[in-house]
């Protein structure tokens, strides 16, 4: 029966929704069909060049599918969501909180707590009946997020993918100060020079990060089951284990943990398209694949704020400006007489 339904489904012409999550460390892409099935997922390192990452991610999806894709809607999220919007033409440009919450409650109906740890930020989202009731993000400090783990893995010469396995092998984590990334690092070096095994130090680091997360980000929030742990750091089994130990409850990691933001934005795009009669904003495959995208920046001398204005160009055409506090450059985009850097 099941395969028959599947065959039937494939016989009907499908259309797709593209979800894009451009984060500080990774860029994620998801191609979802109209039934909510994830057809493709791509996880790339942003490597400091989001424009290139967006182009490459899209090209990968396209080459794997190998056919003309009928993309009806695009949703973008992550700190690079506006950039992705300019390059792809998005129907929904949403913050990460909403995107993650939408994806998690679709995959785990009834989820109460979402722990999300990404490259530069960490969040906690509290839901009730599928609706966000409360959330918090880390404040000014990025200690205890993915980039710090990355950096420590590089220092210990361990591939970040194996970091979690090392931690899980440990029998007893060493106490590491987790309050601040700099202190944690010197503490780790100190323990390492005293001769503690790397496994135990890494497990200690995982526990420290979890402590830091619970004391800072999740401070004062009631963490109730079911708990879902997602974001790039969810790949680290050591962190998951540490969370389970401290919270004394089960923590679930979704299979597509690293692309949950992208899934959420694809769902939001579908939701938006269903409500709207207007044609979608998607700029088309050729726009992204054929164009030569360039970004440049200049210091605007219009006032003492000296804003660093970013300009995104496709071939010779100016697509977007941002970074100006007064929006003088940004607003000129829709006018005939676009401001130009001389």
């Amino acid at each position: 029966m099941r395969s028959e339904g599947k065959l039937l489904r494939e016989a009907i012409i499908v259309h797709y929704y593209l979800g894009v999550d451009i984060g500080s460390v990774s860029s994620n892409f998801v191609l979802m069909d109209q039934y909510g099935n994830i057809r493709e997922k791509v996880y790339l390192r942003t490597l400091g060049n989001p424009v290139k990452a967006i182009k490459e991610g899209f090209a990968q999806i396209k080459s794997r599918q190998g056919e003309q894709l009928d993309i009806r809607g695009v949703g973008t999220t992550g700190s690079g969501r506006h950039l992705a919007d300019v390059l792809l033409g998005a129907d929904v440009v949403k913050n990460e909180i909403t995107a993650h919450a939408v994806a998690a409650s679709a995959l785990f109906p009834g989820v109460r707590t979402i722990i999300e740890i990404g490259g530069q930020d960490s969040k906690i989202i509290i839901l009730k009946n599928g609706i966000v009731q409360d959330f918090a993000m880390n404040t000014v400090c990025a200690a205890g997020t993915g980039s710090f783990l990355d950096q420590q893995a590089a220092r210990l010469n361990i591939a970040i993918e194996d970091f979690g396995d090392y931690a899980v092998r440990s029998r007893q984590g060493i106490r590491i100060a987790g309050r601040c990334g700099v202190f944690a690092e010197s503490d780790m070096i100190h323990k390492q020079q005293m001769g503690y095994p790397a496994e135990d130090i890494i497990m200690g680091l995982c526990e420290a990060l979890v402590r830091n997360y619970l004391n800072n980000v999740a401070k004062g929030k009631k963490i109730e089951e079911p708990i879902v742990f997602q974001g790039g750091v969810a790949a680290n089994a050591g962190i998951k284990k540490a969370f389970e130990k401290v919270l004394n409850s089960q923590v679930q990691v979704p299979e597509p943990y690293e692309v949950m933001g992208a899934i959420g934005s694809a769902m939001l795009a579908q939701e938006q398209r269903a409500q709207s009669q207007a044609p979608g904003n998607y700029r088309g495959d050729d726009f992204i694949l054929e164009g030569e995208f360039k970004s440049s920046s200049h210091e605007c001398k219009g006032c003492p704020n000296l804003c660093e204005v970013v300009c995104i160009k496709r071939n010779q055409e100016i697509l977007a400006y941002w970074g100006d506090r007064c929006k003088k450059w940004e607003n000129s985009i829709n006018r005939q007489d676009k401001l130009q850097v001389i």
Partner: protein, 329 residues
């Protein structure tokens, strides 16, 4: 005509109309520095002690700007207390001294001590002393001060209409200010006025929220009696003037059925905020609450993401027809 400079920072947002009227009535020409911008911030960071908070650093930048304007005096009051039994953050007490130590091309400072914690006798004496720099007529000084207080009250009345203090001051000066736009969400916004109303420091928080379709409720627009009554419910009296106002405002907003959520803008490294923010976070039970921390970073992305997520949360919750949490616990 003597030229007096007033930095466009810190208690400018609460008392500028008062001091401007006072000095103008005594025949002085009042010059204020320009609105905070990147230059003021850069200069301020260079000059100020590293451990102070961002608004104090920015203040240094403003004074530095005034130093280049050939002034006879710069007005830098030593604020200790502006109401009985309550105090301003201790950093403000040291501002004139910190400024003297950091800048060497300073014109003479008018560093009147404002301390009415026990009585206003010394303040009155100091007002006369400051006035005598400009005139020998004691009655003129008294008249000027009475007039100045009236003007300040008038400016506060403008702020009760939903304008920020910065907008109220612009209105008071006769400039055109747009009516605060109205939207579908009612958000209470709290924070020290000198960070919240300085568009550069707060990254335009209030205006951003209005653009996202929010009605912004500020403490200045609330009934002061209600604020004090709510603040008195805290077991130990909060003796910081602004801190108490914020605790009271937060608790009052928490009870009001028409407010959807509360945002608190804190400054990284602010002593009072570290306690007050915590108290508010614990005491606000019925509304969604979000604390934002700002510092020197100029990237606005983090702030925008949090504001968007906050508004999204409130709207999506309403879309589901769940409405708010019960307004009275």
């Amino acid at each position: 005509m003597k030229r007096v400079g007033i930095p466009h920072s810190l208690f400018y947002y609460y008392y500028y109309p008062l001091w401007k009227t006072f000095f103008s009535d005594l025949g002085a020409n009042v010059i204020s520095s320009s609105e905070s911008n990147r230059l003021t911030l850069d200069q301020g960071i260079k000059l100020a002690v590293d451990e102070t908070c961002l608004p104090i650093k920015v203040y240094f930048g403003h004074v530095q700007e005034l130093c280049q304007q050939h002034l006879d005096y710069i007005f830098i009051p030593r604020l200790v207390s502006v109401e009985p039994k309550s105090y301003i953050c201790p950093k403000f007490m040291g501002v004139p001294d910190m400024i003297r130590a950091a800048l060497d091309n300073l014109p003479p400072l008018i560093d009147i001590t404002i301390d009415v914690s026990k009585s206003d006798r010394s303040l009155k004496r100091d007002i006369m002393r400051v006035g005598s720099l400009f005139t020998n007529d004691d009655n003129q000084i008294k008249r000027a001060y009475t007039h100045a207080c009236q003007e300040n009250r008038f400016c506060r009345l403008l702020a009760r209409e939903g304008y920020t203090m910065a907008e109220a001051i612009s209105l008071w000066e006769g400039e055109q200010v747009n009516n605060p736009a109205s939207g579908d969400l009612n958000i209470g916004v709290l924070g020290h006025g000198y960070s919240l109303y300085d568009p550069y420091i707060s990254m335009n928080l209030v205006e951003r929220l209005r653009k996202m379709g929010c009605n912004v409720f500020l403490p200045e627009a609330l009934d002061i009696g209600c604020i004090e009554r709510e603040a008195a419910t805290i077991p130990k009296r909060v003796f910081w003037t602004l801190g108490r106002k914020m605790v009271g405002s937060a608790l009052y907003m928490d009870k009001r059925a028409d407010i959807d959520g509360i945002i608190y803008l804190a400054c990284f490294g602010c002593g009072p905020d570290s306690l007050i923010g915590e108290i508010i976070e614990n005491k606000v039970k019925n509304k969604s609450f979000m604390m934002l921390t700002i510092d020197e970073h100029s990237g606005e992305g983090g702030l925008v993401t949090r504001l968007e997520a906050f508004c999204d949360m409130l709207r999506r919750r309403r879309m589901r027809g769940e409405g708010n949490l019960p307004a009275y616990g």
